[in-house]
Symmetry: C2
Subunit: 335 residues, 2 copies
């Protein structure tokens, strides 16, 4: 039984989805869940649920981080926020992981700060956000936006952390690590990629070279390494294109009765595809490199997405990915 | 009547699509087309076509640039290539534009080199590749891969060149220019974006702020400015996602007879969507910032795509985008 702290005030429509997702997780995983936030609102949500036999505990937090808050202002300016309290439960060893669907920048800032949050694992230059990419092959992308400006050494460490996660949690032996680039040839890519190639090639990682977005999506590598700016643009472009195509299909289907009928007949197929590509399905972004497990779900998360993110958080904790990174970074990172 | 030089040895399956596309263009636009490459192969292709009344002329070039050639080797190492000869026709004023579906790096290198090719327009720091993004709104993306590492000043110039193209050729008044970033707030983005913001905000351009890939695709700006690495990743991710979804739909449709029937009924709708999103439909990438018109089509181009690229090249020439950039860069660039 794991103990997971969940930010009840995280999602765009908090605390509804956050609390409902936590209840789902408590039932499915049998875990103890701390619901962190405004006690009265949380209780009102819990009253709508059947919580018999579940291990749920409200932990009061007076302040709420909003999506409009500037991360830098929040970290020191709202010390009583549900994020501070939730991260604090992990820091004090009372929870094994923290899950929030709130402001990503604020969550990063609070989690990374020593003392207030969890601090970095010794040897880790920059914690990073990793995400499971929602194509069938489920490759892992790191960094998805924590570090917009990177040095080659950070990229190598992202490779180490991503590889350890994929190995421990997804059970892939010697995960194939690749750099995301504009071509497979060594000469392709920007200066950062070119510098990172030699670092990765000379590491203990199973580095297989550079890949383009297409090959990454098709699972040509288990771990796609990139800077947080590129990773974020890549992920957002994929999401936007999938959405654009769905809408184009819907609008084209309305143009003729045959197409409309066709669309109806294909509805279950579309539903399966949408579900497979749904970022909610794969859970949240994993903050790797800090002294504790933090998973940041999308602000638009529904209850199911929150439950999935909690599932990821418990796997990270259960497989001790933090311990693995602590060991791996000091060995692989210091060569 | 424009005079367009077409690289007959450019596409992956040259000279078939290249010659057939040129014939289509000669018929549709009534232009004079120079077919540059191996005379015998070109003649063999022309023999398959009805060329009565068309203005087509073969210009012999002994060497062929391959996709495996390293650009740096080709520029000086294959001076008799169809790219050299085609670009030379523009340099000497015998053609108004050059179109190739060959090796992008080689075409860039040859076109940019002074003496051998066209050289840069005075004041232009870095020529860039612009592409019309194939969503319904047809926004313009610049740079799509010519410059993997950029300074903020280059990005401002990309904005100027993109804006002039969109204004002149697409007829948009005061095109809205935006920086592609990971968020709309000024604080979002990497250092390059943050530096470019003030340059663009202080320019004469109609700079509207930063946009995410989704908003760009939906046409929230007429010109999306980014470095060539990010632009290339963005474009390739969009193409890969569209392809991934098409294949997912096809494979899901096979799983039930109802879905299969639905797929058949929706076929015309899918075809319209595929056609709309087809990069071939919008033509090639425009090399902006050199002293002449160069359009680089995809290596996988079919005859239709070559014809579309020729159509873009003739518009660029007709509207004198090179002249507009020559004037615009010196005014806007030197403030």
């Amino acid at each position: 039984m794991m103990r997971i702290a969940v930010d009840a005030m995280g999602s765009d429509s908090h605390p509804g989805p956050d609390v409902a997702g936590a209840v789902m997780a408590a039932r499915e995983f049998g875990d103890k869940i701390y619901l962190v936030g405004d006690g009265a609102s949380i209780e009102a949500e819990l009253a709508k649920e059947n919580t018999a036999g579940l291990s749920l505990e409200i932990v009061q937090a007076a302040e709420v981080v909003t999506m409009r808050d500037k991360p830098a202002d929040v970290v020191k300016g709202k010390p009583g926020s549900s994020m501070h309290v939730g991260v604090g439960l992990v820091r004090e060893g009372e929870a094994d992981a923290f899950v929030t669907a709130g402001n990503t920048g604020a969550a990063l800032g609070i989690a990374m700060l020593r003392g207030v949050g969890l601090g970095r694992i010794p040897g880790v230059k920059r914690p990073a956000l990793g995400v499971v990419f929602p194509t069938k092959e489920r490759p892992f992308l790191i960094d998805n936006g924590a570090n917009t400006d990177c040095k080659a050494e950070y990229l190598r460490q992202f490779g180490v952390m991503g590889s350890l996660y994929v190995e421990r949690v997804l059970g892939v032996e010697r995960p194939r690590v690749a750099l995301i680039s504009t071509g497979e040839e060594e000469g392709k890519g920007n200066l950062l990629v070119k510098e990172a190639i030699s670092l990765l090639a000379n590491s203990d990682l199973n580095y297989i070279g550079n890949i383009e977005p297409k090959e990454f999506m098709q699972g040509a590598a288990d771990v796609g390494v990139t800077d947080g700016f590129t990773g974020n643009v890549l992920m957002k472009t994929a999401e936007a294109t999938a959405k654009y195509m769905s809408e184009a299909i819907r609008s084209e289907a309305k143009k003729s009765p045959f197409a409309l009928l066709g669309g109806l007949l294909m509805r279950p197929a579309f539903k399966r595809i949408r579900r497979q590509l749904d970022p909610n399905e794969v859970g949240g972004a994993l903050l790797l490199g800090v002294n504790g497990v933090v998973v940041i779900a999308h602000g638009r998360s529904n209850a199911y997405a929150i439950k999935q993110a909690i599932g990821q958080a418990r796997s990270l904790a259960e497989k001790d990915v933090v311990g693995a990174i602590r060991g791996g970074i000091s060995v692989i990172g210091e060569r």
